[in-house]
């Protein structure tokens, strides 16, 4: 079901011309600008494929192209990431029930030389960190190109309907969705070349230069050559183990936000949220805004992890937050119908007899993120496991340069934090990249110092403590 009314968002603005796509032969109305997965979900399709070994139904999980839960056959081509592929008139979409067959074709492709883009700074990822890196590198005098595999810029900002904290220059009081628009406008002004629907599949040293191998719209090869590269590839949602955690209806919190806040698709009717950190709390409020009932939030820790203001808001709505509770299993035939939760004792063991049943059709997992470091790992950056930053992260200096000269990192791919710090890190990395590329004057060092100070202030609160502990382990002089 599509949402038409929302206190903050206007979906008619993003919904393009109506088109018809075909799911297993049946026509479905969709809108240009929607991804296949969103259009299917709006039409009530929740099972996107069946697992190849045990043929279990699978639905969305991350909805940003990072997991493989939504792979489908599109126009005969197997394993298409339907969550980031836009609908086109007449598209034929099928579920995969086993390992796919290759399409029947006997015509070898004509080998075409790929498009070659040269820049001083190549930015991978168009979220808050990547956009800020591109804007600042450009201001510092660099020719910048930015690529992102999603069909729109903004990263996770495009689904943040809440207002930001911090200082005025850090967009305090502005909603995330609005920040995405502002940054996009700034990029436009600066003539930064942007490639959307373009996945970076390789990051290499190419002599003194860097080479980013991209694939546009799943078929066209594009080579990006840069003197330096900023990797701002974000993060991937974590999954926790419980029985039936692969049933359609068990989604990452971000996927639910993508459904309702980016594309205006109602994720379900009744939701259980797992995790009372900021993401879980904000999600509860956003679900309420979208007219979806949140039955409860369960949190294994003895207290709520997120900001007090967010928790207070959720409490005011009458949504119970059950601390020291965990999810035991999901139940349902082909999709989530119930969630069973239980209380934990001080040793994290389930207390027998405390099981509670929630009749829900969606279980939202807001249990943390892990940095997307694949490209950084591939190009040989030194990696370290730092739990405070969400897992494996790269070693870098205070200007966000990794152990591979000329490769920079920013945002969640550098360590899990939030959008404000991502933007500041992006600024530092963007200027740093322009400096190493040899196009920025040394006056820009001052701007880096300013941003470093802002970061320091922002992290000085109680919520920055953990991150600061983590940073001690990976930031080298």
């Amino acid at each position: 079901m599509r949402l038409s009314e929302h206190p903050i968002l206007n979906f008619e603005r993003i919904r393009g011309k109506e088109v018809t796509i075909y799911f297993e032969g049946k026509p479905i109305k969709a809108h240009e600008g929607e991804t296949i997965a969103m259009a299917l979900y709006a039409a009530g399709v929740k099972t996107f494929q069946h697992s190849i070994e045990k043929h279990r139904p699978r639905g969305l999980f991350c909805a940003i192209g990072k997991c493989s839960s939504c792979l489908m056959k599109v126009n005969g081509i197997p394993n298409v990431r339907t969550c980031i592929t836009l609908v086109e008139e007449g598209m034929q979409i099928e579920r995969q029930k086993e390992k796919p067959m290759l399409p029947k074709t006997m015509k070898p492709p004509k080998w075409k030389e790929p498009q070659r883009i040269e820049a001083d700074v190549v930015v991978i990822g168009g979220g808050p960190a990547g956009m800020m890196a591109a804007i600042n590198a450009s201001d510092a005098g660099a020719k910048v190109v930015l690529l992102d595999e999603n069909p729109m810029l903004g990263g996770q900002l495009v689904k943040q309907t809440h207002k930001f904290f911090g200082k005025r220059e850090q967009f305090a009081g502005v909603r995330g969705i609005k920040i995405a628009e502002i940054l996009q406008e700034e990029l436009k002004k600066r003539n930064v070349e942007i490639f959307l629907e373009t996945s970076a599949l390789m990051l290499l040293q190419n002599g003194e230069e860097k080479l980013v191998v991209g694939v546009k719209k799943n078929k066209e090869l594009v080579e990006f050559k840069g003197k330096t590269v900023v990797v701002a590839t974000g993060a991937m949602e974590r999954m926790i183990p419980f029985e039936n955690n692969d049933l359609p209806g068990v989604y990452g919190a971000g996927a639910i936000q993508t459904l309702m806040n980016t594309y205006g698709v109602k994720p379900g009717d009744r939701v259980l949220i797992v995790g009372a950190g900021n993401v879980g709390l904000i999600l509860a409020y956003q679900l309420y805004q979208a007219g979806v009932k949140v039955e409860a939030i369960v949190e294994a820790m003895p207290k709520i992890g997120g900001y007090f203001v967010h928790a207070a808001k959720v409490r005011r709505l009458g949504i119970p937050i059950l601390t020291r509770h965990t999810i035991l299993r999901a139940e349902g035939n082909e999709k989530v119908e119930r969630a069973i939760v239980a209380q934990l004792d001080e040793k994290w063991n389930v207390i027998p007899g405390t099981e509670k049943v929630f009749d829900v059709d969606v279980i939202a997992l807001a249990v943390g993120l892990r940095p997307s470091i694949e490209l950084l790992h591939q190009v040989g950056c030194q990696i370290k496991y730092v739990p405070e930053l969400g897992g494996h992260v790269v070693i870098r200096d205070s200007r966000m340069e990794t152990t591979v000269k000329g490769i920079f990192v920013a945002g969640d791919s550098a360590g899990i934090e939030e959008a404000t710090t991502a933007m500041l890190e992006g600024k530092i990395a963007g200027i740093g990249a322009a400096l190493i590329a040899g196009v920025a004057s040394s006056e820009w060092l001052k701007k880096i110092e300013e941003a470093q100070k802002e970061l320091e202030v922002f992290r000085s609160g109680p919520f920055g403590r953990k991150v600061l502990e983590g940073l001690k382990k990976v930031v080298v002089k």
Partner: protein, 387 residues
């Protein structure tokens, strides 16, 4: 760590673990040392293929024997190494190649390898998505195959340990001790192990071990050449089961992995000598160009992985297997030039028997693989090189 053993094997790939297993089976007190983890050198990076289709008697005979070993290996090691006889299909693009195929087939048949010439139509029946338009004929042997290198090394090592062998991973040999031209043991970064017999099974790194014992590094001129592979997402089995290779297309080849059905694609582009293992974009472009010529529908498959490994090449692409006459107790089985995995069962058996009994029932032609042939300037006809 043990301080003494009868035999020390240096190198924990398919060759080293096979030697250790076969020695332990003969009751020998054997220790294997590996500087990384088992299989981390070249075995886990290989294309999984096992063939008998060589172009010389020695290799064909050894591989004919090896196929019999592979067929029973899972049962013998009590662990499924997923050996499958899915065949090797070579494809000819010119009349000259067809004639050469006919000669090869005669030689194969002479040694009981049932290779035959097939038409493009029959090739298409075996590999349905194959683009046969540019091929004149195929050289097809259904008894060649593939196995899982990870499971094979694990199974050899597990059984070797069961039989009393000791295996030390992350243990690097820093010196081979020899006195008066007699081997006395090895010094590792974790301690010294005394032994009267040391076997160099370090393949791409074998020249480094040879130098430790005082041999000139050109005595057995093994050089590491970087080769690469890409792998696609898992696909339904039965589409490209055999290894398919048109040699004229830059030695390009592809086959479905016997484990998950992903297609492994390789090509002749090599770099070296080098110990660099970085994957290259040049290779990605090159291999995809050829792979989609062989099986056009692969243009719709996603590459999910690319990696590099070494062909430890000798000047004639044949390994050096046997005893080093200058130093008592020093043996080598290295320089497999891309064929180590497929040869591992028989080579391990022959080496173990050579050490224990001084002879072997394995049809391994010691003269052909003689480590001393290079210093005599006697090169063999180059072994046919594909996977």
């Amino acid at each position: 760590m043990k301080s003494k053993a009868e035999v020390v094997v240096i190198g924990g790939g398919s060759t080293g673990t096979s030697i250790a297993y076969h020695l332990a089976k003969l009751g020998v007190d054997v220790v294997l040392v590996e500087k990384g983890y088992l299989g981390s050198g070249s075995t886990f990076r290989c294309a999984t293929g096992i063939r008998q289709q060589f172009t010389d008697e020695a290799n064909i005979k050894l591989q004919r024997y090896n196929i019999e070993r592979w067929k029973k290996l899972s049962e013998e090691l009590e662990y499924d190494v997923n050996f499958k006889q899915t065949g090797y299909l070579f494809l000819a693009t010119t009349e000259e190649e067809v004639e050469a195929f006919k000669e090869n087939i005669k030689l194969h048949n002479k040694f009981d390898v049932p290779t035959r010439l097939i038409s493009p139509e029959e090739a298409k029946e075996i590999v349905p998505p194959l683009n046969v338009d540019e091929f004149l004929a195929g050289q097809w042997n259904p008894t060649d195959g593939k196995a899982n290198p990870f499971k094979t090394v694990f199974a050899f090592a597990r059984k070797a340990k069961e039989l009393g062998a000791e295996i030390y991973e992350y243990t690097e040999v820093i010196d081979v001790i020899a006195e008066n031209n007699e081997v006395k043991g090895v010094k590792t970064d974790k301690g010294t192990i005394k032994a009267d017999v040391v076997i160099n099974a370090a393949n791409a790194w074998a020249p480094i071990i040879n130098e430790m014992v005082g041999l000139d590094k050109e005595f057995i001129p093994i050089k590491p050449y970087k080769h690469q592979l890409v792998k696609t997402e898992p696909l339904k089995e039965g589409q490209i089961d055999p290894l398919v290779c048109p040699p004229a297309w830059n030695d390009s080849y592809l086959l479905q992995d016997g484990e998950d059905g992903g297609v492994l694609c390789g090509t002749g582009l090599e770099y070296g000598p080098t110990y660099d293992m970085t994957a290259t974009y040049e290779f990605l472009r090159e291999v995809l160009k050829w792979a989609t010529k062989i099986v056009p529908a692969l243009k719709y498959a996603h590459v999910i992985r690319q990696w590099a490994g070494f062909y430890a090449k000798t000047p004639d692409s044949n390994p050096a297997i046997g005893k080093i006459n200058y130093i008592d107790g020093f043996y080598i089985a290295a320089g497999f030039s891309g064929h180590g995995f497929m040869m591992a069962p028989g080579v391990g058996e022959a080496m173990a028997e050579l050490i224990v009994k001084g002879e072997t029932k394995v049809p391994l032609d010691w003269d052909w693989y003689d480590p001393h042939r290079f210093e005599r300037g006697e090169l063999r006809s180059a072994a046919f090189q594909i996977g």
